[in-house]
């Protein structure tokens, strides 16, 4: 029997209301973000890292030694997986995570003060440099945190934690009037 499933974003309930005017500190969630986990084979780590890093449109997020979360703004999930497999040339396992994880993008002048309420990492601009990324805890939720711009961070969470993390982030941003909306 063939079934059709409705594709429903994890935060559909939370963000369904009409988009609010973004305040200085704003949380954006994209409906569709493509990403895949790449785990390099032993002794192929450096070759895999270099192959993916050579692609300017792919963003690599550090997950563990020889393991990255690769995020794309342009590819569709199947296209990204195919492209990564070609790039790595058998040197890595590639697993699509596009439906399994949710990307939060938080931006604004107070972003570090907001994140510091839940994340035990030094986020000073000189320490957590542009393009840096790390697996960390936000409260009790495991996230991959990346600094994608001067005052912009992305948090990638497993889908089933998305609502919980959303509530946490909104509470962390309450003092700074943090707003939130879908970005597309």
């Amino acid at each position: 029997m063939v079934r059709d499933y409705n594709n429903r974003h994890a935060l559909e309930q939370k963000l369904r209301s009409a988009p609010v005017a973004p305040a200085a500190d704003h949380l954006m969630v994209g409906h569709w973000r493509t990403m895949a986990l790449v785990l390099a084979r032993a002794d192929r780590e450096e070759a895999v890292r270099r192959a993916i890093a050579s692609q300017p449109d792919l963003s690599m997020r550090f997950a563990a030694p020889g393991e990255w979360l690769v995020v794309s703004e342009v590819e569709a999930p199947s296209g990204l997986v195919r492209r990564l497999e070609e790039l790595c040339d058998g040197g890595a396992y590639v697993v699509d995570q596009s439906d399994g994880r949710v990307v939060f993008r938080i931006t604004g002048p107070n972003v570090r003060s907001i994140l510091a309420k839940g994340i035990g990492l030094d986020l000073h601009p000189a320490t957590f440099t542009l393009g840096g990324s790390a697996n960390v805890l936000c409260g009790h939720v495991p996230v991959n945190l990346a600094r994608t711009d001067e005052d912009t961070f992305e948090l990638i969470v497993p889908r089933s934690y998305a609502e919980s993390l959303f509530d946490d982030l909104m509470r962390m941003g309450l003092a700074f009037d943090l707003t939130a909306a879908f970005s597309d």
């Binding site: 035990g120 697996n135 805890l137």
Partner: protein
């Protein structure tokens, strides 16, 4: 309890990100070793005061097993190495 651990892969992290798996200094007995040796290995634990080596699992970070050498009385951390590296050094 040592509250900051310097993971060789992730940098300085709070202890909440780790799960502690116990004594890293004792080797696993051979499969056909005596019941006493296995009983000791599985069940008998010392509760040392002072310098110890423990397996710490960086659950919320890189998910690697680490060997942390620390002092249970002063909380001082002496060294943190990846468990694979630790095993490699032990065989040398």
């Amino acid at each position: 309890m040592a509250s900051l651990i310097t993971c060789p892969h992730c940098g300085v992290r709070p202890k909440e990100e780790f799960a502690i798996r116990g004594d890293a200094s004792r080797g696993r007995p051979e499969p056909m070793d005596s019941d006493e040796a296995w009983h000791d290995y599985v069940y008998v634990r010392a509760n040392p005061r002072g310098r110890t080596q423990e397996h710490w699992h960086h659950v919320a970070g890189c998910r690697r097993f680490l060997v942390v050498e620390r002092d249970t009385a002063t909380h001082e951390v002496y060294s943190v190495v990846d468990a694979a590296e630790f095993a490699l050094r032990a065989t040398r």
